[in-house]
Point group: C2
Chain length 176, copies 2
């Protein structure tokens, strides 16, 4: 019986969907978010899912996403997992339906802070550790090479410091 309602809605909307079940507006949104998530190093499927949820007025279940995006079960499940993990997407209750229905959270900052926490911060940390190790090696260098290497190391420390100074600012800027 819910199937009937869904069929009706689907048929009605189909008139505005030239490209295989997606409206022009949806396609633009999906493209936009694909290129956005790729910039952050995430798989395309994550962008597709978020893009469609962003464009959709109603919450969508995993199966609806699957069918409209022509995407495998696995990719949809994984993509939603990622999006849930940093709160870019959340489930809403749908009476009399035990599937999870998803809506997009509109805060850009969800993506930004996930990226900072999962990508930038770890890189800065491992960079700092490496610089520390390089300082150890410096001591064991013959004095003629030590000076040149020391100049380079101080450059690295300067960059690290800059990166560390930037992160909190960036976060504040994007979340605000």
């Amino acid at each position: 019986m819910p199937a009937k309602i869904q069929n009706f809605a689907t048929r009605k909307a189909a008139a505005r969907r030239p490209s295989g079940g997606l409206s022009a507006l949806e396609v633009e949104a999906i493209d936009l978010f694909i290129s956005f998530v790729r910039l952050l190093g995430m798989p395309k499927s994550v962008g597709e899912i978020y893009g469609l949820l962003f464009a959709s007025a109603e919450p969508l279940a995993l199966d609806a996403l699957r069918h409209r995006l022509r995407m495998s079960k696995g990719a949809a499940s994984q993509g939603l997992k990622v999006l849930r993990s940093f709160g870019a997407v959340r489930t809403v209750y749908a009476a009399g339906d035990r599937r999870d229905h998803y809506v997009a959270d509109f805060e850009l900052s969800k993506f930004a802070s996930a990226f900072i926490k999962e990508e930038l911060q770890p890189h800065l940390d491992s960079g700092a550790a490496r610089i520390a190790r390089m300082e150890q090696h410096l001591d064991r260098l013959p004095k003629d090479e030590r000076e040149a290497a020391g100049v380079r190391l101080s450059k690295l420390r300067h960059w690290k410091q800059k990166g560390e100074a930037m992160l909190p600012w960036l976060l504040k800027f994007l979340v605000a």
Copy 2:
């Protein structure tokens, strides 16, 4: 005759190069820059080359890079081309040697502004174009859907504005 000098230097330094021709310090620098360039979406080979040049006191020719990094001719040539293209590396004159000798430029901002110019800016531009197209589509939507879609579009405009505001600031911060 230059070959003899190089041989001597190579043999002398070999004592401090446990891992196949590279000193511990060099390996750390290379690792550091590999992860840095990967973050910017560049191939690993670019990080290897820059890392070794960064660590080296003397300018290195393409063949020297090739051999020490055990990298193909093609990859070394391509990598240097990329690095040259945004000024992360430059050639220095070496008397009586017709090969190009490369040194690392120490300005982090070279990477940063290349990334902004080649990645961020184009994404922002294409995003802006897409938002404009979406506004066109909006007009052709039935009025009941237009409102919901309008709210979403205004979110997108807000993000775009934020991105555009951030870029100049970011650039200034990193170049300074």
